[in-house]
Symmetry: none
Subunit: 400 residues, 2 copies
């Protein structure tokens, strides 16, 4: 879908769209012939909705590609993640409510533990408490390097966001995070000629940070990755004429939503509180993105039963949503996170699209195996936004 075509066809209307994303929804059976996490879960509400819906399997990027959360969400939001590449650093900065300015360069930071030889022994510094993180970020914020303004912001536990602001900065920089233990942190390298000066500034920052942190037992080092320069995207209002709101209790997802101009609604820590937030604000927006994080966390932890439980917990919240009588409901994942892999994977996600005009198929339960037989077939997730818009009667005819 050409980006300008959908922008050209989008019209406003009273209908409302709710996109529910179970992070890392797709799964795998533990043994051949067994069921996936979603197939194991008891999900009477999702199954009832599937009967009234058209279903399918969506590839987050393209067949075989395992995406990170950023590209996976861009795809769900209708932005081709190969065309729109956004660094982890940008997403982290947006996720901590930092107001990025054009040309800011941001990186994702982990507090880490190094040994006496300088080798990384824990890439997450034992997941230090968020409060400790705040104290350390406060210290690192005092670092001064001529020619650049530096912002250090706490994300959660061992995670932080760092933003460099100044003239002539480049975002084309290599990571310092070696992505494994037993080796030292890497130096930042410029990935283009214009990035040399920025690389130097960042390396100076890391050196000073290491000095400041040297008396810490756990968080005695900082690792940087996902450098990127901020450039604004055409947002939901411009591209889809939607007044969109996001409900997410993890910063990264609020960050992506904010990048596209969605209003971030404050919400509680539970899935149920997210659905309650939806109900409270239902009159004020025409598009809602509701993000459920813990399916992914459980998958990453290899906790099959935990992931099943989260899916069941979310299923119990669906009456709150359906009582609002939304015009279009989509339920899917951003990517798969099978517990057996303890990681994101390339498998397509089950998709359910409900609307009065969806042309329902024969799918009776919301699962990987049934969605495979659904009317949407297997398709790239980037097509979901045009489908949602069409089902909400928010797209005009193309050509005469």
């Amino acid at each position: 879908m050409k980006k300008d075509l959908i922008q050209e066809l989008a019209v406003t209307s009273d209908s409302k769209i709710v996109l529910v994303v179970f992070d890392g929804l797709g799964g795998l059976p533990r043994n051949p012939g067994d069921k996936t996490e979603l197939e194991t879960a008891y999900t009477p509400n999702l199954d009832a909705l599937a009967v009234r819906s058209v279903c399918g399997l969506a590839d987050p990027v393209s067949m075989g590609i395992t995406p990170g959360s950023g590209p996976a969400h861009l795809s769900l939001f209708g932005y081709d993640p190969v065309q729109y590449q956004i660094g982890r650093g940008i997403l982290s900065a947006l996720g901590v409510d930092f107001t990025l300015q054009h040309s800011d360069v941001a990186a994702r930071a982990n507090f880490a533990t190094i040994d006496a030889k300088g080798n990384v022994i824990d890439r997450r510094a034992g997941r230090i408490p968020t409060e400790k993180n705040r104290q350390l970020c406060e210290l690192l914020s005092r670092i001064e390097i001529p020619g650049v303004e530096i912002f250090v912001r706490t994300e959660k536990e061992h995670r932080a966001a760092i933003v460099f602001r100044g003239p002539g900065l480049s975002g084309r920089l290599s990571d310092t995070d070696p992505q494994k233990v037993g080796v030292p942190a890497l130096k930042v390298e410029p990935l283009e000629d214009e990035a040399r000066q920025t690389a130097e500034l960042v390396n100076q920052f890391v050196e000073q940070a290491r000095a400041i942190l040297s008396c810490e037992k756990q968080a005695n080092m900082i690792l940087l990755r996902g450098f990127d320069k901020y450039e604004a995207l055409p947002g939901y209002a411009q591209r889809y004429r939607l007044n969109a709101a996001a409900i997410a209790n993890y910063p990264m997802y609020r960050g992506v939503a904010r990048l596209l101009g969605m209003t971030i609604l404050s919400t509680g820590d539970t899935i149920h509180s997210e659905f309650e937030t939806l109900a409270q604000h239902y009159r004020d927006y025409d598009f809602f993105f509701l993000h459920i994080k813990k399916t992914d966390s459980m998958g990453e932890d290899g906790n099959f039963e935990g992931k099943v439980n989260i899916i069941e917990e979310a299923d119990r919240c669906f009456p709150v949503l359906m009582n609002l009588q939304p015009d279009v409901v989509i339920v899917t994942g951003d990517h798969s996170t099978p517990a057996v892999l303890k990681a994101h994977s390339w498998h397509p996600n089950p998709v359910l699209l409900y609307s009065k005009f969806c042309r329902p198929d024969q799918v009776k339960t919301f699962s990987e195996s049934e969605c495979r037989q659904g009317g949407l077939g297997r398709f790239p997730a980037v097509n979901l936004m045009p489908l949602m818009m069409a089902n909400a009667l928010k797209l005009s005819k193309y050509g005469a």
Copy 2:
């Protein structure tokens, strides 16, 4: 499919392809759990053909996009409708057998009714008889504006085509049709600097037309839309090496076919007469496009039973086609027109492709729900022409 790739691979052979297009074929059930128009229709001949065919669901443009008839047919003919954008005016002019010249600018015209204040009160002038239209077009043809030749041609009922010919004309002009009643007709505005002079000429034409029509009760105004400048496309002979013929009893569809160099066969008003025309000319061409209009008209009118009846009427004609023993037969729609929506829609169309080499699937009846399970899966309609060519053994191998 890259246009130059298929052109490079196309070879001639004795085999014959028949593409039968039911306009607006795809539908929706009237109530949840009910059947669509096609599923309701009794179609023993199409079902028997489906058993010997490979089936699937085709998206006219891409998922979620509702196309007009022009782009939808270009797609069926193998021309990406986002790449090849053709204005309604060009299609209308081609549809009335007007021989366009390179750089002609054409518009679709509606006779309309305005009140004493100049506000449009009927965008179709009560659908005046075609004979009345002819008289009015005759009058408007007498308008003379220096620097431009003007052709006014009757299409049908309230519809006409207007062609402007002259040096330096631009097709980048806004519509005068306000697309609603209770407001005045709009002035033509140039959409690029080079279009200023053309806009002025067209506005002069409209003013004179209004004066001429002022004594009419119903058709006292003319509304213009879909301006476009004619540029020839690579046609069927050049691109596919096909000697193609079109059988269509509505002008617009003859227009698209003529645009691609198909020979237009004159035919009768009934579906049966179209199939008879096919039989008469079967020896003379190797590709036939047979267009059935009334499925769409019934859908647009919200007439579910009427659409069912048209499908059944067409089904009864299929023995005429199959007795010719064609090598490849395709049956599909250009877009969906569900009676419940009374409009074109974004839903994919059922597709049936018969050939000796089609690798039949398990589909036993020609319907949206069964085609969903077919061997072609869900795919963009622009892929159909290469599939037809391949099944007719008219495409050579790509690469060594």
